[in-house]
Symmetry: C2
Subunit: 119 residues, 2 copies
């Protein structure tokens, strides 16, 4: 197949009224992300987690297919979540949607706003 850019999809969500961020454990989050990536045949190349003093977690996961990122603001019951996959070797759009919806189910927000950017 001949590819021309744009080659992928970037799903960006804001999760509001998400009380779960207050008790969000880095280990539980990491396990959930790793499991969802594995179940959907996406390949993790590396990861970086940071816990802020006073609360808040940043997670950056490098994928062979691009990346996943998550940032929490416990004091606002708020977090942002994104997954970006290229569809270069095969179409990973469905896998990205499944990882995204799996994480949203896990995080249980009161309200969610999602943008999809083709790039």
């Amino acid at each position: 197949m001949t590819m021309t850019p744009p080659v992928g999809i970037h799903i960006l969500s804001s999760l509001y009224s998400c009380e779960k961020v207050n008790s969000l454990d880095k280990k539980a989050l990491s396990e959930k992300i790793t499991q969802l990536l594995h179940d959907n045949q996406l390949t993790k190349l590396g990861e970086f987690y940071h816990e802020f003093e006073g609360g808040g977690v940043t997670a950056l996961i490098a994928l062979a297919e691009s990346h996943l990122a998550l940032h929490t603001w416990p004091e606002l019951d708020y977090l942002t979540l994104e997954i970006y996959v290229c569809n270069y070797s095969r179409d990973n759009s469905e896998a990205a949607e499944k990882v995204h919806s799996g994480l949203v189910s896990f995080l249980e927000p009161g309200r969610i706003e999602t943008h999809r950017v083709h790039r």
Copy 2:
């Protein structure tokens, strides 16, 4: 100041006809990113670089203010670039715009397409 979500800006660009990705050196790229972040008072927490066999680089930079990411497809003269900053402690929007434009100048694309998402 009282903050309510959304708390930041995410600038996402696609850079087309970017011949420079063919000779893009991880070290030069890392130095440029680090310099631009420093010049604009953004704080790097950690970074992950990956060079793909046969070409292509992924760069994920965790910031105290959120993240920066870059993915290249040398065979398509194409790359995607993004910077996401929260404006929680102070307004980092101008700093994000400057880092973004500094990287675009450095990468010299023939054409660029940019989306800005408030989140």
